[in-house]
């Protein structure tokens, strides 16, 4: 029955497509072992969901930049350009994409040391080479994360 309906198996189709696409290759893998317990670490979220505040520039098609927002911002818009994934979950609960309230709870419970003052969003739909992010905007974001003394970054996709 479901085979006859138009909107079924979208996630399967997307995963199958993505697995056939070219992916950037890295010849080495940097690996930073934490030098202190997680309970003393400052944690930031970086998402590819194209989140932004209403007063910030929207993500344009092919946007390789990023937006920063504060740990208290909750009035965020998901400006992603792909129609290929569910947007309703984010509308119901932004934590399903950007688990900022969960981080605050983990900090209150002492599991993590601290929630970072700023968090960041990129656009997930990038050219296959992702060279802009790799060579330019990604390192720019890393500079800002280091300026905020972030120890751990949790990356969430959509």
């Amino acid at each position: 029955m479901t085979e006859d309906r138009a909107a079924t198996r979208g996630d399967d189709a997307m995963r199958a497509l993505a697995s056939t696409m070219d992916a950037p290759e890295f010849t080495s893998t940097s690996f930073n072992k934490l030098g202190k317990p997680l309970s003393e670490c400052r944690v930031a979220i970086v998402t590819s969901a194209s989140l932004h505040r209403p007063d910030q520039d929207r993500f344009v098609q092919g946007d390789t930049g990023f937006r920063a927002f504060g740990r208290n911002d909750r009035n965020l818009i998901m400006g992603h350009w792909s129609p290929n994934f569910d947007h309703s979950g984010f509308h119901l609960d932004l934590n399903v994409v950007y688990p900022i309230d969960r981080l605050e709870e983990l900090a209150a419970d002492g599991v993590i040391g601290e929630v970072a003052p700023r968090h960041f969003a990129f656009a997930g739909n990038q050219p296959d080479t992702v060279s802009e992010i790799r060579l330019d905007t990604g390192p720019q974001c890393a500079v800002q994360l280091n300026a905020d003394a972030v120890d751990v970054v949790l990356l969430t996709p959509v």
């Binding site: 979208g10 569910d86 984010f90 970054v153 949790l154 996709p157 959509v158």
Partner: protein, 227 residues
């Protein structure tokens, strides 16, 4: 995401990737991956379920204890719900208007309540909420065979306008169904299978394809697997 993990690790920051596409994450190879088979667009799995989200985060943060790169799967799979959500639509009001135009006008109150409650809206990439019926009128004409070069679309950018229409319907529909939160993809199933707007967009897209409009102009109006 996985690419950014490499970049941040190069800058001295420890990273954890929640991967929604395990095959891609394996290829790119960031140092710590928790692959989660959840609906795309819901990387923490379940909206409104803090306990479940904490389970995901706990396993993710545990990866920091490994002494070398590590790739794990989260043991719980969350399936998409692809049955159309149950949401009643306004009755026909203006029999002379195209069905999608009439329908969109009827949803404006629910949409405004949603914006009032949330204080934020995703509508506005290319058009304002009040332009949604006019945009659907153009899409209706395209669907009926009008040449896309002859009938102008408010907002011009077909992909952005379709995002705006979909966001308008999503925000209105979630307001109408209240606590009956839809599963992943059940909004999309409802939008494209039940609403006149969704059906009109699909029909307009088919018409643009037939008219040999530029590929990016029509293809990305809806999810790639839809015909």
């Amino acid at each position: 995401m996985s690419t950014l993990a490499h970049v941040f690790e190069d800058a001295g920051i420890a990273t954890i990737v929640l991967a929604s596409m395990a095959d891609v994450a394996k290829k790119v190879g960031p140092p710590r991956v928790l692959a989660c088979e959840f609906p795309l667009g819901r990387p923490l799995g379940k909206p409104g379920d803090a306990a479940f989200q904490h389970q995901v985060l706990q396993q993710a943060f545990n990866l920091l204890e490994a002494d070398e790169p590590i790739f794990e799967h989260f043991p719980v799979v969350v399936e998409s719900d692809e049955m159309p959500m149950a949401c009643s639509l306004p009755p026909r009001d203006d029999p002379n208007a195209p069905p999608a135009v009439d329908e969109a006008r009827g949803l404006i109150s629910a949409y405004r309540r949603a914006v009032e409650r949330k204080g934020v809206t995703a509508v506005g990439r290319a058009i304002e909420p009040e332009q949604i019926p006019a945009a659907l009128d153009t899409l209706h004409q395209w669907a009926q065979g009008a040449a896309w070069k002859d009938v102008e679309l408010p907002g011009k950018n077909t992909v952005a306008v379709c995002h705006d229409i979909r966001a308008y319907y999503l925000e209105a529909a979630l307001e109408l169904v209240g606590d009956l939160a839809p599963g992943s993809r059940s909004f999309d199933a409802w939008f494209y299978e039940v609403t006149e707007a969704g059906k009109t967009i699909l029909e307009a897209r088919r018409s643009l394809k037939t008219q040999e409009a530029p590929f990016p102009f029509w293809f990305y109006m809806v999810a790639g697997h839809l015909e």
